[in-house]
Amino acid sequence: MSILNYNKKYFPNIEWAASKSVEEFVEHEKGTGLPEAELREAYELCKAALPVEPKPAKKEK
């Protein structure tokens, strides 16, 4: 589990957030009391923070 430090007050689970759509994420996290705009921003940061898996090496011809 990786944690995103959003605004030093809200720390979402990056992997979980990235596995959801933005609507699902916002709906799920509204219980935290954060405004929707901030939740959407946190979601985008989670998506961006998720490590990109390396592409498989090209096969030699």
């Binding site: 589990m1 944690i3 979980w16 219980g31």
Partner: protein, 325 residues
């Protein structure tokens, strides 16, 4: 062949320059940690290992518990037991075991926490006023030398007493008394050993504070409020550490589990600080939470002490909490 064994009883008795001797104890550490020869290879590496052992979570077999700083020492070592036949010379029948009492002027809350160690037998390390830490060399099967054997505390019975009302006349009245009575003369003498720690001060080895978690308000579906306090004996005086460490705690990885031994993970989707209620807001994954039966117990496990130290939250250990759906 000689007609006596005198030359084979012992070895040479020379002194090594600058060898140490037991000084005035300043601090004791209790626990079963055994330092390996790699850990005590240098003073710096041993110092690092000692501090790391203090900053472990309760239940870790390598955990060391530092006691308060010692402000008075009383030697209670028992006298040798002697006897003699009617016409014979006095013979020593049994060597007296080493025992010491340490007075510490501490608060009521710390005294109550020390009571957990009352009348317990535990390995004890002693740090003295000559920057030496004393313990014993433990036996290994493959070798028996000071330089490669594990370095352990000397086994002793610990009792905690004192700390009552003061009498207004004597400074020693009302202070806590920690008595350390060593079980084995052999451990203390023949196997007794020490390490030099020139850069370590007694005050560097401080005990941790337990932080209790509780729910300040009922949960709303899958959203739980968890507050963090240090308990003190002062009525209504429990200290909420939210203002100092709320954001640090929220930004670390917590885990939650259900089922047998709480081994079934329950995803925590976020932790947020709640500045209004001075607590943390935990949100569990709705789908997994909804699938749980009513009254299911959920254990929330906090970050470990080493993780807290890395995050600059030094001197605390967070407890776990079991909440109910």
């Amino acid at each position: 062949m000689s007609t006596n064994l005198c030359s084979t009883i012992g070895g040479n008795t020379g002194a090594v320059g600058c060898d140490g001797q037991r000084g005035v104890p300043r601090k004791i550490l209790v626990g079963s940690k055994a330092f390996s020869s790699v850990e005590y290879a240098t003073p710096d590496s041993l110092q690092t290992a000692i501090l790391a052992s203090i900053n472990l979570s309760n239940g870790d077999p390598n955990k060391l518990f530092p006691f308060p700083e010692i402000e008075e020492v009383a030697i209670n070592t028992e006298a040798d037991t002697t006897g003699s036949l009617a016409l014979g010379p006095v013979k020593r029948l049994r060597k007296g075991r080493p025992a010491y009492s340490y007075s510490c002027d501490i608060t009521w809350g710390q005294y109550q926490r020390l009571l957990a160690f009352d009348n317990k037998i535990m390995p004890v390390f002693s740090f003295d006023d000559a920057n030496q830490i004393w313990g014993k060399r433990d036996v290994m099967l493959t070798s028996n030398t000071v330089n490669t054997n594990p370095f352990k505390g000397e086994l002793a019975r610990i009792t905690i007493s004192g700390s009552g009302f003061k009498d207004g006349a004597n400074a020693s009245a009302g202070v806590a008394v920690i008595s350390v009575s060593y079980l084995s003369v052999d451990d203390f003498e023949k196997r007794g050993t020490y390490a030099l720690l020139p850069n370590l001060a007694a005050g560097d080895m401080a005990g941790l504070l337990d932080v209790m978690l509780y729910e300040p308000s009922a949960h709303v579906s899958n959203v739980y409020k968890i507050a963090t306090v240090v308990q003190v004996p002062l009525l209504g005086g429990d200290r909420n550490i939210y203002d100092e460490f709320g954001a640090i705690m929220a930004g670390l990885t917590w885990n939650a589990g259900t089922g047998a031994n709480y081994g079934t993970p329950l995803t925590i989707t976020s932790v947020a600080v709640d500045s209004t209620n001075k607590c943390l807001t935990f949100t569990f994954d709705t789908t997994a939470y909804t699938a749980l039966a009513a009254s299911t117990k959920i254990k929330i496990t906090p970050p470990t002490v080493p993780t807290l130290v890395t995050a600059n939250m030094v001197g605390y250990e967070l407890g776990s909490i079991i909440v109910v759906k």
